[in-house]
Symmetry: C2
Subunit: 344 residues, 2 copies
């Protein structure tokens, strides 16, 4: 009924393959559309400044599990993931719109919890919720958020400006959100097996917070401005460090050397990974949802950030011919693998 | 698991009640946010002009039925419904973002069909598709579109400017999209009862097109500008004439007299309604999805539109104390009922 003729499985393409294919037919008509699909956000030129626009769709059972995700946190996070994309353009978010698809299993109080979390994030990040759409859904909760930000044209940082010899930097630490997720999944399995069992999540606050109440790096954008640094490229870490490095490498047409021993991993992330027999480096490379910023800077800017506890230099940009590699703790050089996200 | 304490059924509020309640807690922070929730689109002031932003979520099984909705048409319509909201602000759409949730039952070719319809609408309405998000969905197709438009601040028309004695106008004709939907539903029932039966949709092209391939009234916006008319209030007809009249009455704090015999209904809509034992007036009042424009103008502007075949004067604005009434064909005065949309 859906179509005739050829049938290509979406799984054979993967998410990025599908997006590349779909967007290859797009023609842009307006001079004011400075950037369309393919970065953290689109960029639209107004008279003196630019609007950046980004949107994200969060689906129950795919992006979140309501059996352990409190609705207020979910509302908060759904705003944060969009603001993070705006900051990753070196822009300031100003407005969001929110569309909800809500099934009849939700009460008004549940929807209000969700909305309260959204408004809390808006309050904290000084953003206006300016509209949206609310629909009944047949199956599960659907959250679609669009964020709109502002920047001077010359301040906007794309994914495509990294140059050979630039330093590759990351903010905060990585892998925590993924380990928080693993912990919640483990406790859910325990609970389902034996509902009398109390959840064993005491003392894991940091990684739980990384998963359930992430923040966007507004502070970093403000600090870079204060330090007079404009990154040469930037992206936020939603899918995992490896995948984001590949985005920068591909769009900037460069290679990257990443040093495993420089990747910032919090001790709790590290220990929990070990406890669950997972490789801590892999949680950082492929875990995702950290909403930290990955960016490249000119070497000349190194002195301005070298003592900053929030920024770690994890590698450098190379010629495109050298490819994308990770130098392991033991000194071996491996081609980096983007595990990416294969959900289809 | 979802929440503790009180449980209020969403069905007790209805869509508009829920939206009113949720948006009542919103505080706006930015002077540049000229209009937040509560109109066809939000309005954001840039230096010399304004951006208007609107978003819509379309869900399989709620807003569309893929058993009779061709994917290319669905893609087209999903863009149109958003552009219509931008025109209803008297603004020009410039960009759209598209988020898709796609289940594994869809092939690449199916998604390409959907996208082709979207790009066709973008092409026709001179709009740039500037990004979005693609996710796997567990159940059914989810389409979230955000449209961004541009206007001079002084040109924007809100829902709240109608004044006593203004004339109430509508474009095109109403009820066709709803009758197209009824026809498709009838043929689906026939098909399910007897798959050998051929669908009986010959000769119904106009109402089928109204349902499957609606257009947004770009032409009207351009014409009003040319005629030097700025409506005092405006809204697009997505939920049905009655419901949109109530939006204008409420936000403008006015009453309305609507004349049943003036409501423009195409003969095919009329005859099909009769054939199916439905009241043609009711299809116009409550059918929805026509994406025509409902607007009020000053009486002084009447001469400029009186001979226009695309615009019909269907009533006038009264004092708020007089309420919202329909004067029937037989001359009786009835309070108008907004059937609205109760999907929860």
């Amino acid at each position: 009924m859906l179509e005739n003729g050829t049938h290509t499985d979406l799984s054979s393409l993967g998410e990025f393959g599908l997006i590349d294919l779909l967007t290859s037919n797009i023609k842009l008509h307006h001079e004011s559309t400075l950037k369309g699909a393919g970065d953290d956000a689109a960029v639209i030129q107004n008279s003196n400044n630019c609007s950046v626009v980004t949107t994200d769709l969060l689906l129950e059972g795919v992006h979140f599990d309501l059996s352990f995700f409190p609705l207020k946190h979910l509302g908060y996070k759904s705003i944060i993931v969009n603001l993070s994309d705006v900051y990753a353009m070196n822009a300031t978010p100003k407005q969001v719109t929110v569309s909800l698809g809500i099934s009849s299993k939700f009460s008004l109080e549940a929807v209000e919890e969700l909305y309260a979390g959204m408004l809390l994030a808006c309050e904290k990040y000084n953003v206006d919720l300016v509209g949206g759409d609310t629909s009944a859904s047949k199956q599960g909760l659907i959250i679609s958020v669009t964020a709109i930000g502002e920047a001077q044209k010359e301040d906007i940082v794309y994914r495509n400006g990294a140059k050979e010899f630039d330093l590759l930097c990351v903010t905060g630490d990585l892998g925590g959100a993924y380990m928080g997720f693993q912990l919640l999944e483990r406790e859910k399995r325990v609970f389902l097996a034996n509902p009398q069992e109390q959840p064993d999540i005491e003392g894991y606050d940091y990684i739980l917070e990384r998963q359930l109440k992430p923040e966007a790096r507004k502070d970093i954008i403000e600090m870079l401005k204060m330090l007079g640094i404009k990154p040469t490229s930037m992206i936020d870490i939603s899918d995992g460090l490896a995948s984001e490095i590949f985005h920068i490498a591909k769009q900037s047409n460069v290679g990257v050397n990443l040093f495993e021993d420089k990747i910032p991993i919090d001790p709790m992330t590290y220990n929990t990974a070990r406890e669950m027999e997972l490789d801590p480096t892999l949680t950082a490379l492929s875990g995702g949802e950290d909403y930290e910023l990955l960016f490249s800077i000119k070497q000349a800017d190194f002195d301005k950030i070298k003592n900053n506890p929030d920024i770690t230099v994890i590698g450098h940009i190379t010629d495109v011919k050298e490819g994308v590699h990770m130098i392991s703790k033991s000194g071996n050089v491996h081609p980096l693998k983007a595990q990416g996200w294969k959900a289809f």
